[in-house]
């Protein structure tokens, strides 16, 4: 069930737009900030607030790469796989990450600590290769630094 805080935050968005449904992405992100992902029950509640059907809102949720409809780990790693990072060594960074975490792209570690996802260009091309962990950008990443970078996330 949506908490009062979530509900208030979502309703505060409505006045920014001509229609409530325009707040759909922000509403899904509000739920995700609280829970890490967007479960079915909360999605249906949000849809009612937005005056949309749950199916329609799910269509929006699943369109976007950063709305999670399945549980993710405590920390989400977005590894940039676009052209500049690819040229500058994305494949080595990815291989090292996968080996260290024991998971592939789209997977979560057994201890629920990390989820590893590919990302389109993060806009850090002058410091490629780049990745983002939660809200922090890590740039000029060298495979040898990954263990130290990851150790900062419990």
């Amino acid at each position: 069930m949506l908490s009062e805080v979530e509900r208030d935050e979502i309703e505060a968005q409505f006045e920014h737009y001509e229609e409530r449904r325009a707040a759909s992405v922000e509403a899904l992100k509000i739920v995700q900030r609280q829970r890490g992902w967007v479960p079915d029950e909360e999605l249906a509640e949000v849809a009612r607030l937005l005056e949309m059907s749950a199916a329609e809102l799910d269509g929006v949720a699943t369109f976007y790469s950063l709305v999670f409809r399945r549980p993710v780990g405590r920390h989400v790693i977005l590894i940039c796989d676009s052209a500049s990072c690819w040229v500058m060594g994305y494949e080595c960074v990815r291989a090292q990450l996968e080996q260290h975490l024991g998971i592939g792209l789209g997977e979560t570690t057994a201890d629920q600590r990390f989820t590893l996802l590919p990302s389109v260009c993060l806009g850090a091309c002058d410091h490629a290769p780049a990745l983002m962990i939660d809200e922090t950008l890590h740039a000029d990443v060298e495979p040898g630094q990954l263990e130290r970078i990851l150790s900062g996330y419990e």
């Binding site: 737009y17 001509e18 229609e19 992405v25 369109f63 052209a83 690819w86 990302s119």
Partner: protein, 425 residues
């Protein structure tokens, strides 16, 4: 020393100027001038005369874009200005620099743009991952509102503007201007048929202009300096300066504000510092993933919209992705087409099904499983996914690097097929 109006307040690693310092540096003077002594039509004329062309990639003249919005008392209301801050073109990081480095400059450009077209609400459509920019923009919007630069009856002019920050959640297609409007309305980001153009029927069916971040950042300087002086900042026909940049194996990857029309060679050699030790130049995507490769023979091309077009590519975002002699061109094409296939919205068949096919063929060639007839198949795709066969410019954009790679790096494709392996690994 080049003048660099857009980045004069920006120092890498330093927080942006807060409002009082921004004002002290001449900030919001253009808004004061426009709102107290110019009509909206005069602002529009000044921007038209400046020969500012859209910096999001398409290069459409900004004044002309604005001029299609109906004005006068009969015009439908409300009207909207939407800032396309969904910067997701691979290789491109100029709008991030502008938003993180000088958020008030963007707000000032938005106020001027909204005034010119008579919009009372503006949305800043920002990609999700730009969290630092989001924080700084939010603070700037609050500061500008508190100081009366935003809100009701700005400077007693009768002109009002509210600004809302809309943070997105991924997907490259949101940067396509009509898909962006669908995203803002809360739906899946699927491009719309044109006409009607957004200026006639955009956000919620109202008159709407969508402008790129860098485009709007130019507008205060056009009003401050006047169209003629602004035009003179350029080395070519298009007015003003441009944020150029480079990534790849160059000595000094980065971004620089330079006169519009600065030659490609100068960007690569003087500003990017040439190739890194042990790497040689093979080619460059001049303006992001969806532009044709240029090579050695094009190095003297001035980097303005028409000259790059004449050289067979597009200026796009003006942010170079450099290909070196130790990186496989087939692999780079496979990477690019993977990106485009993944980011297709799925609405029209040639794009949704054609791009994954192209990616598969390229992956097979890269893995040494290509057949000689694959090159003809790829060439067919570059035609069948080209302009006129799809709903929007996504797939045609995807074909630009591929068609030029097949031309300039043909020997690499053939060698992969002949030797049944990637010679770069």
């Amino acid at each position: 020393m080049n003048e660099r109006p857009l980045t004069r307040n920006i120092q890498p690693g330093r927080a942006p100027l807060p409002l009082p310092a921004y004002e002290q540096a001449g900030g919001y003077q253009a808004v004061r001038r426009a709102l107290t002594s110019m009509s909206p039509g005069e602002v529009l004329d000044e921007v038209s005369e400046s020969r500012l062309r859209g910096r999001g990639g398409a290069g459409f003249p900004t004044g002309k874009k604005w001029s299609f919005v109906s004005t006068g008392d009969e015009a439908p209301r409300p009207k909207y200005l939407v800032v396309n801050a969904d910067e997701m073109e691979p290789g491109t990081f100029k709008d991030r620099l502008l938003m993180e480095g000088d958020p008030h400059q963007l707000l000032e450009g938005m106020i001027l743009g909204a005034y010119a077209i008579g919009a009372e609400v503006a949305y800043l459509f920002l990609r999700a991952e730009y969290l630092i920019a989001a924080d700084r923009l939010r603070r700037a919007i609050t500061e500008a509102g508190d100081a009366g630069w935003l809100g009701r009856d700005i400077l007693g002019s009768g002109f009002s503007l509210e600004v809302h920050l809309h943070s997105s959640a991924g997907r490259y297609i949101c940067g396509e201007e009509t898909a962006l409007l669908d995203a803002l309305e809360g739906g899946r980001a699927i491009p719309r048929a044109k006409p009607p153009f957004p200026q006639a029927s955009g956000l919620w069916g109202r008159p709407t202009v969508v402008n790129n971040v860098e485009t709007l950042c130019n507008v205060p300087h056009i009003i401050n300096r006047g169209a003629g002086a602004y035009r003179a900042l350029s080395r070519g026909e298009d007015g003003g300066t441009k944020i150029y940049g480079a990534s790849g194996h160059v000595r000094r990857p980065g971004a620089w504000e330079l006169p519009m029309g600065t030659p490609l060679r100068e960007l690569l050699e003087e500003h990017a510092g040439g190739m890194r030790e042990g790497f040689a130049f093979r080619g460059v995507l001049p303006g992001g993933a969806s532009t044709d490769f240029l090579t050695d023979e094009h190095l003297d091309t001035p980097m303005d919209f028409d000259s790059v077009m004449q050289a067979g590519s597009r200026l796009g975002t003006g942010m170079l992705i450099v290909l070196d002699d130790r990186t496989c061109p087939v692999g780079l094409c496979r990477n690019l087409e993977h990106f485009f296939a993944q980011e297709s919205c799925g609405w029209c068949t040639p794009c949704r099904d054609g791009l994954p096919w192209v990616e598969q063929i390229l992956a097979a060639i890269e893995a040494g499983q290509g057949r000689p007839e694959d090159l003809e198949l790829l060439e067919q795709h570059t035609r069948l996914l080209g302009m006129g066969h799809t709903f929007c410019a996504h797939a045609p954009g995807a074909m630009e690097p591929l068609q030029s790679a097949l031309k300039f790096f043909r020997e690499d494709f053939e060698r992969h097929i002949r030797e049944r392996r990637c010679p770069y690994r």
